[in-house]
Amino acid sequence: MEAKVQQFPPYRQPDAPHGHDAHDDHGDHAAHEHAHHEPNFWQKYIFSSDHKIIGIQYGFTALCFMLFGFFLMILMRWQIAHPGMTVPFFGHILEKVLGSGVAPHGAISPDLYNSFGAMHGTIMVFLGIVPLAFAAFGNYVVPLMIGAPDMAFPRVNMASYQAYFLGGLVMFVSFFIPGGAAQAGWTSYSPLATSIPTHGQLFWIIGMVLLITSSLLGAVNFIVTIIQLRAPGMTWMRLPFFVWAQFVTAFILLLAFPPLEAASVMQLMDNAAHTSFFLPTGLAVGGQLAHISGGGSPLLWQHLFWFLGHPEVYVLILPAMGIVCEILANNTRKPIWGYKSLVYASLAVGFLSFIVWAHHMYMTGMGTKISTFFQATTMIISIPSVIILTCFFMSLWGGSIRFNTPMLFTLAFLPMFGIGGLTGLPLGFNVSDVHLHDTYYIIAHFHYVVAPGTIFALFAGVYYWYPKMTGRRMNEFWGRVHFWCSLTFMNLVFMPMFAQGMAGMLRRMSDGGANYSAAVNSRAGAEVIGGLSNNMMSLHVWILWAAIGLGIAQIPFIVNIFWSMFRGEKVGDNPWDATTLEWQTPTPPPHGNFTQEMHVYRGPYDYSAPGHATDFTPQNQPEGPLAPKITVHAH
């Protein structure tokens, strides 16, 4: 991906006033050297420590992985809709690349289906959305928004990307090793993950350790940058909400990921050194007593995994909410409603996300008292989430809304995330969870949060910040095509799954429940035990075609990205008439980000201030009235 960065103009002229680094008598010398240093392609785009380039690297890699993860999903949907039948078009490629053992006659074997399922989850969460939402947008936008010349530790930033890339590579390569990729689900539950006698799981763990390392480095970097590098005048309550969201996200990553790293190390020991951390006494694999010492606890893995796994949900959603907030304020042309409530609610979400994890484990037999506690915390965390969503809805009230592509995606985010959130409540109550646990209902639920929720916000972010990265706007017409098709097909894919799940369709069945549905209990007098009606089973075919439609709907987006890079409408530095600092610098921003030192005088969403010449007042503009204080009229 290309971003036309200019020839490293020195950030400050040698004679420019040095604020804080006046003591450093090497500053002039370094700047002088810098100006003469001509970086080649590799230094500029591959081994760059510039946060903007790293952000674009993250974004491009993450989008590629998301496409790959999506493709795995299409193959899985084919297998679910037409179990055991040759995959058209790609079947023979699969058989050639992966061998006829796992893809006989171009059909997807149950083992391969399990691999695809595990890797679809892993890739989408850890290689797709987190890197795109947190690392890519965070890297590109946060330093610009707070008026910083770069991240606090540029080289750590580069190392973080490299660790991510390496982790992704390990995950990707694992498809092609004998035995294939990990098959134990993205949750990688033990003892299953230790009992499958292939090396895929080992690759998965090593990949995860690399990805976790990358996230930790990134999280430290973001927090330090936001605390230390805010421009003069950029007080905490003047931070754009996107920065707050990234700040809370970084803390979640910082504190929730290490326990999974600990768990990964232990699972690595279980797999490689034959320890029994997660393996209970008397474990039998394939009818044989396993040669292990035993004494371990499978529940321990689940606790450690979900201690990350649940906060991870908020890692996925908070940056998306940040993006939504920016675009919402910009396109309603008025200050966001309840800025402080948003900030405090996101902090509350961040804290509460650490004490809800065991609501994923109601069915493990960990005890009803523990379940009750986690049921209560789960209900409590919905309060700040609803506060955030309410603030967004209220912000729409009375605004003169500009319906451009980023805004369309943003507006779609609100009800889509709402559906995802509300359908989570029956899963949070442990009584109703007994019925819904591990069915298609839960797949529909979390995909509504992440796919039409987070991913729509990420699309919005791409359309919104694209002009800052390239100096050109993405094509509006194809943007709208992309939006309406995505919205339609997304709902056609996931809405039927609620029905299937409530009818009792279990997830993780490689034939989509065909065997289960057809199985007849001979003892009970030829009664079908699955009881999944033909209507429910035939929905699989509908979902397959909707998913293919969703895939086709992404083509305008992909083409638009590359086409607009060269042919898009040229725009100025601030095409959306936005107030935040990233729009107050040249496009694309030079190395060092700003041509002058930024001073901040006002809050982030100073739109439509009365008595002002324009309907927006940039944060770095000293004079002019503040935005009117919003008063709510009670009737």
Partner: protein, 288 residues
């Protein structure tokens, strides 16, 4: 381009960037070791009654290592103070001490690992248990010819000499230890005074299974090796960083004294954290 507050503290936070960074990093480290410690608690609480080991580790070595790390914490602090007051020679001396202490710690740890590695529990055919350090294992080839004594290499192994493959079978093992009837006696060593240690030779036909005290032996050793191993990796990493600052990295003293002092402070903070982890590891693993 200069990143602000790389060296000088930011007035409103009172911190320079890397100091805040290392504190955040240490917070994540707390969670990492916290995860492992909680695993320790769960495994211990869930262990079969009588099968959680007590007194398996030698408190004398643990105490020695605690003293070594405590001393290294002092020398690390003194090295930083020496930088602050501008005495480079003293800095060199104190951090040399730190490095020596750290390497000694690792040496002691290696010895302890080795001690566990050559410690075997042997289940015997008559239902008793032999337990002790491996002295030797005798192997014979197909014709019954004895190969010189080796350390334990499994029940059978193949040796290739001059293109001829020879298969050897275990004939007998000799351990320095004892034979007990009740396996739980091997687990609670606190209640037993003067455990006898005599050379015991056991022929192969009497052995049901044997295993050394590696991480696979039971969950205590698994968590012991994982926790102390991860801690030892931290010591190694810390020694590497401090060694760099002491050696090639110390050139910075001449060019940018303030930043160098900051580096010593930040690496020192990491070192203190690693010490602190040991302060938790010592009672949890050695004294219980």
């Amino acid at each position: 381009m200069e990143i602000p507050y790389n060296v000088q503290p930011r007035p409103d936070t009172g911190l320079y960037n890397s100091k805040l960074g290392i504190w955040l990093f240490l917070a994540s480290e707390v969670m990492l070791f916290g995860g492992l410690f909680s695993a320790y608690i769960l495994l211990r609480v869930g262990a079969e009654p009588g099968y959680w080991p007590h007194g398996w580790l030698d408190v004398r070595f643990g105490t020695l290592n605690t003293i070594l790390l405590a001393l290294s914490a002092i020398t690390t602090l003194l090295a930083w103070v020496a930088c602050k007051v501008g005495e480079f020679g003293k800095f060199k001396f104190f951090h040399a001490c730190t490095i020596v202490l750290a390497l000694t710690f690792l040496g002691v740890k290696m010895y302890e690992y080795h001690d566990k590695w050559i410690h075997y529990e042997i289940k015997l055919a008559d239902g008793t248990f032999a337990d002790g350090h491996m002295e030797s294992a005798v192997y014979v080839d197909k014709s019954g010819k004895e190969l010189e004594s080796h350390s334990y290499r499994g029940n059978g192994f193949t040796e290739v000499t001059d293109g001829v493959t020879n298969s050897y079978q275990l004939a007998s093992v000799t351990i320095d230890g004892r034979i007990v009837k009740d396996e739980t006696l091997l687990y609670d060593l606190r209640s037993q005074k003067n455990i006898p240690r005599d050379p015991v030779t056991i022929t192969a036909d009497k052995i049901t299974s044997m295993e050394n005290y590696g991480p696979w032996h039971n969950t205590f050793l698994a968590i012991y090796f994982t926790l102390t191993g991860l801690h030892a990796l931290h010591i190694l990493g810390g020694t590497f960083v401090i060694g760099y600052m002491w050696g090639p990295g110390s050139k910075m003293w001449k060019t940018n004294r303030e930043q160098f002092t900051n580096r010593i402070e930040v690496s020192g903070l990491f070192w203190h954290f690693v010490d602190l982890v040991w302060i938790f590891l010592f009672p949890v693993l050695y004294l219980t």
